[in-house]
Amino acid sequence: MQHMSTGERVLRGILIALALIFFLFPIFWIVLMSFQTNAQILRIPPSLFFSPTLENYTSLITGQLKTASGVLTLNFMQNLFNSFILSTASVALSLVLAVPAAYAFARYKFRFSEDIAFTLLSFKFAPPLLVLLPLTIYFQKIGLANTYFGLIWVYQLITLPLILWIVRGYFEDISPDIEHAYRIAGHSWAKTFFKISIPLARPGIAAAALLSFIFAWNNFVFALVLASADKQPVTVGALAFVTASGIQYGQIAAAAVISITPTLALALFAQRYLVEGLSLGAVKG
C-alpha cells in the first residue's frame, strides 16, 4: 500500500464515513421506524429518542392490524412464505435449466447458438408491463393465474437469463483441456460435467443464484398482476398497509425489516462462500 500522509488519512476516513451514512441511513431510519407508533413517526420535528414498541411486529406476526377505524386482518406471514416459495423455487428451476444450457453455450458452437443466447438475454430488456397484459389473459384462460406454478414460470423471465449469462462466462473461463484431462482418464462426459465443470464454476453459480434470488424476491409487478391475496409475495402484500385510515408507516417499516432479512442473510453467507471461492471439495480424492 502506498504511503499516505495524516491529512490524506483523515480525509479518507471522513469520505468513507460520509458514504456509509449516505447509504446506510435510510436502512437505519427504517429500523428505528419499525419500533415506533405511527404518531411517533409522524411528529414534527422527528426525534431519535422514543420509547420503543414491538406492536408493529406483533401485529404483523399475528395478522391483526389495529387502525383508527378498527382491526384489519393482514396476510403478512403468508406473503413472506409466498416470497420464500416463489423465489426459492424460481431460482432452483432456473439453476436446473440454465446451468447445463450455459455450459452448452460456452462449449459448443451450434447453429443459432448466439441468437438463442441473445434472445434469452433480451427477455431482460423487455418492459414487464408489455408482457404482462397478454400473459394475464393467457394465464386466466389456461388456469395458471394465481398459482405458484404459473408465477414460478413467469419468474423464469427474471432468473433464467441472469443465471445463464453469468454462469456461461464462468464456464468459458475454464480451460476445456481441464475437462479433457479428466475425460481421457476414463470418465464419461456427464461425470466430467458434474465432477469438474460444475465445481469449478461454483463461485459463479453461487453468485448468479444469489443475484437472481434477490431479483426474484424484489419483484413486484408480475406478482401484482398475476397473483391475488393468498399467493402474493411481501412486495405486493405491503400495499395492504395503505389503509382507508392512513398509511401504517410503523408496520411498513417492520415489514421491510423482516423482508430484507432473508436476502441480507443470504448475501452475507454467500459472500463468505464466494471468497472461499475455488474449492473443489466434491472431487478431492
Partner: protein, 382 residues
Amino acid sequence: MTASVRLDSVNKIYAAKAKNPIYAVRDFTIHIEPGEIVALLGSSGCGKTSTLRMIAGFEEVSKGAISIGGREIHKLPPAKRGVAMAFEGYSLYPPLTLRQNIAFALKSEKLGSAETNRRVEEIAGLLELTRHLDRYPSTVSAGQQQRASLGRALVRKADIYLLDEPMGQLEPQLRAVLRGRLKRYLREHGLTAILVTHDQTEANALADRIAVMEGGVLQQFASPADLKEKPANLFVGTFIGEPPMNVYRVEPQIFNGRISLRARGEELFGYEPGTIDDAVVSLLERRNALVVGVRPADVAVSPLNGARGATAKVVSNQWIGDQTHLESAFGDGVIVATLDNRFAARAGEALAVDVPADKLHLFAEDGTALAHGRSLASGGAH
C-alpha cells in the same frame, strides 16, 4: 500395455459444407510400431495438434480411420480409447495440489492409496517434482506445472501416450536432463508415445521417427537421420536443420564430362568428371533447371589463394560459443557455412567456397527430392 497406432487417410476438415472447406489435416497416414516414440513436428498451424487431438478424441475425425492396437477407436469417446495425454496448457485442476493432481489421474484405476502414492512418488522423482508435490498449481512456476501435467499423463497405464509440447516451458538445462529421463522411462516400460513439438532438438532427441507436417499434409515420416540426410522434398530439407539449408535454383551444364551448376550464367558449383555418380549425372542431363540444397555444415570454406571453389564475399562472421556461423554473398544470394572452430575472416573478405559432390541435395523445381549425394532419392528418379 503397449500398442501400435495406425492413422489411415485421416482428414480434419472445417466448414466441410462451405465453398472453401479448410483442411487442417489432409490424408494423413502413419503406422506406429508398439513401443515406438514418434514426434509430430511442424510450425504452428501445421495440423500436428489437431492430429493429436483426433487421436485423443477431442476433435472428430472428418474422414479416415484411427486404430490403436488393432482396435478402431476414432468413434469412441476419449475415456474408452486407452490413451493418456499431457496438455500444452497443463490444464491442472486448480484446487488440487500437484500430488493430488497426479494421483487424480489414477482414480479410475481404483488402486490402493499405498500403490497410488508409490506411483506418484516414482513419477515425481523422475520429473524432479518431489519437493513441490504439496503445492498448488497457482503457486508454482509454469515449468513445474508443465512437469506435473506430464506426470499426470505418465502415471497412468495407457496403450499410448500423447504429449503436446511436453517441455516447452522448461528451462534449457532441465529440458536436456528431462528429455533423457523421459526417453529412458518410455523405453524401459516399452511405451508407445506420440509427441507434438515445434522444437527440432526435442524431436531428434526423443523420437525414433519424426513426422514432418506442413499445411496439414505429412511431408515425410522418417528417422531423424534420414530426415537430415534424405529429405523427401525441399520443405523438409529447409525445415530440418539449423541454420537452414542453403538453396539455389541452378541450370546444370555438362561439358566434356565436367558438370557446372550455374545460376544466371555464373558457376556456383563445379565438378570434374568422375566425381558425381553416373546415375546422378544422367539425371542432370535430363533437366534444364533444378534446385540444389547445401547444408551449412557441408560447406567447405578456405582462403582464396588458389583453392578450388567459387568465390564468396564474407557478410558476417559470428562465433556462437561452439560454432562459427559464416555468412557470405554468393551468386545472387548468400551462403551460410558452419565451422567447428573459430575462423578468421572479416566482412568484405573474399573466400573460396566448395561443396563436395556427395553432399549435394538435388530437388526438382516442384520441390521433390531427386538425389542426395551419391544416391538417387526414392521416387525422384523419374
